[in-house]
Amino acid sequence: MEGTEGGLRDAQGRRIAPGAKVRSGELEGTVARVEPAYGVLTIITEAARAGKTERMVRASTVEVLEEAPQRPHHEPFIRRYIFSLDHKVIGIQYLFTSLFMALVGGVLAMLIRLQLGWPGVRWGLAAALFPGGFAGGQMKPDFYLAVVTMHGTIMVFFVLTTVLSGGFGNFLIPLQIGARDMAFPWMNMMSYWLLVPAIVVLLASFFVTGGAAGGGWTAYPPLSAIPAAAPGSGLGQTLWLVALAILIVALLFGSLNYITTILQLRTRGMSMMRLPLTIWGLFVTAVLMLLSFPVLFAAAIMLLFDRLGGTSFFVPAGVYVGGEVLSHAGGNPLLWQHLFWFLGHPEVYVLILPAMGMVSDIMATHGRKPVFGYQFMVGSIVAIGVLSFLVWAHHMYTSGMNPLVAMAFMTTTLAIAVPSAVKTFNWLATLWGARIQFTTSMLYAIGFVSLFVTGGLTGVFLAQPPVDIYMHDTFFVVAHFHFVMASAALFGVFAGIYHWFPKMFGRFMNERLGKIHFWLTFIGIYATFFPMHFAGFSGMMRRIYSTQVYAFLADLAPLNVFISVAAFGLGLAQLLFVYNFLYSLRRGPVADRNPWRATTLEWETPSPPPHGNFPDELPVVHRWAYDYSLPGAPDDFVPQTTPLRPAPVAGGQDAGGPQG
């Protein structure tokens, strides 16, 4: 009964495919799913009384009454590209939106460096571009704080979270596990269409009275709770909280979807321990989001109540602001910090775990070598995920919580360095004995390891409360998280884009431009963020509008000029990427199905994949994702769909892979 191509056929040679009308003995119905490996299929029968019923029948008993319509999937433009249910379109929507937000966040970063490099200088052009933020050519302090706050908020929540989980998660999960789509496509569409209003609300806050929120991306109350405390604590802060609440709902829709899809829709043979590490990273990330974001959601609603409803969750009695004593009583500002960081720390792993997974897979593909220590890699992703819930108060050593608590959080924080070290050494071991192809994607993966190590090691300083007393809230912290979280995650994103662009759009990005982009970005990141450690050593505080007030910061002027110049270079270099990305969408060289000669399932289907992902039957998985350079194999990669041994029956294999 097994056909030579395209799955099962009946005695007359008609295709048994989803959508076909078939009869099997007494039963008549429509084919829902076909399992060629087992010679069975599921049909949906419609009985007068019972309604729709699923029945499983043997393929050998089936007679096709009417073949499945061969029409290509056709939907009106708006259903196909705007309100699409297709995970690939939604993933690309998330990708484009996140890249747009990265440009916004990047411009804000340039404004920060403009001010810190040359405080007090008048800027004609910048003042003309941002008339509300400058007075007499000089940046205003409240605008500076709004810029700092929005830079952090946008980059953490609206760029890195959304591009990694929303962009790569959406695009890659069904393709890499061999599913036709997400488990809940409509919820998936809603996830993206909640992101859009969240962004509109967030960006609108720049234009309200008092400007955008200015309390930092952590929005510590009472500053963020009391409108009179700062210009940015007015309507801007309310909109910030509303935007975040909407975004959280969007991300929860997404993470429920990712978890369900990975647990339920893996194709035959795709056991959990055969999943590519990208999927493991995205899976644990989704679990972290599901468990931690509701806490921030609750905190945001509580803070909104404090601001608008007269409650006192976070504001204690006797608060004196702007010349009067407020009527709040009974709240505690530290409660917000606990709630915020209970999300906030898992959140930084939400940004790094998917990047870690993607980098592992990219290293294997472009190094032509299996990932080293797959089980330890999975174990350390899970360990980091679990520990990430137990370290939040290391952000609070100086907050006023009981100093004894700091001992416990120091221990858990340094413990999380162990799985991080294991991952680093496993990447090194993956490179050992490899046959490295220096594609742009691989360069970014190598750069990722460097940035992660540099940023991870400074975390060892901050984990220790006695050292953190000095370093906390200085530029040392800014340097630390820009390396380990921001830049490393960004390198994961770039590695992923250069690697999966051919699958997403069927075209390559320009490799030469990509390599120039890598060199400039890698050098630019070290030149920008490494000197920030020294500013931190000198005691320079975060979020200060000017370094000119303090005598102990006077010597830092040349250092800050250097950092600013490096940051502008880094920012300009990203224009190369924007050009390369947009140009390659239409003009890049056409890519075939599997240009990198990779093993995972997304490369078994055309580029870009059709609606439903796999043209015929779903692929069947026979092996792990890392059979690169397998001795004795005819090629230096063996796709996951290739059976472990040649099939015993003449006629070859059932589905998928062309290799024998």
Partner: protein, 282 residues
Amino acid sequence: MANAPQHSDARGTGLAVALLIVGLVVVGGVGATLYATGRWWLPPVASAHGVAIDRLFYSTLVITGVVFIGVHVLLALFVWRFAARGAGRAVYFHDHRRLELTYTIIPAIALAIMVAMSGIVWARVRLGAPPADALVVDVRGEQFAWLARYPGPDGRFGRVDPRRIDARTNPMGLDPEDPAARDDVVSRTLHLVVGRPVRVQLRSTGVLHSFFVPEFRVKQDTVPGMTIEIWFTPTREGQFEIACAELCGIGHYAMRGQVVVQSPEAFAAWLAQQRPALAPAP
């Protein structure tokens, strides 16, 4: 239909990337750090516990520095050595349990030692009780200034009430109905005694601030509704700046205060000159 260009020989690129890693990250990073030691570094310590903190900082710097150099050199070596060359294949080598356990256990031991080292310092710095003879000062943050208060001859701080705050006549909000408040001395500058432990009781009027004196290696948030006590011993006479290290609003960058550390005699003379804050102007 095009495939990606196959790099049959990538040795040139491998060498370039290895040199980038060694040149920029290792040589550049270490060189920049050495250059910074003379210019942009921790200011000379001026407190007793700060010496232990600095020692911990330098131990961490050495340990992480060694790992930083080691891992980057390995990364560069592998990138250079295992660049695609010739027609051979990569090694099919993906598990070595003993190697993996080694590099799990060694970092775990190193980090456990670090937990112990900094735990001991932390216990000394933050968990020990202050000596009985310590000076006691009340320091309050407000938007955007610091205000210090000394208990006066009765040795007791009087009651404060935010409703009594008046920027000009009673910035501390002292309650005149409390006898203990009548002799309290209030000062915009914080005066401390060299070699004498001081208990600083930190408060805030409205939003969070953070009391940061870089030379003392002291940083503690001030939280409205809480009084948080820290103690330390200044060891060097001179003037130091108090910085606010927690974002507190539009004037955060300018919330600069001053500490004067002086000899016991000079301190006593200064305190004797101060009139109680509630005393009528002469």
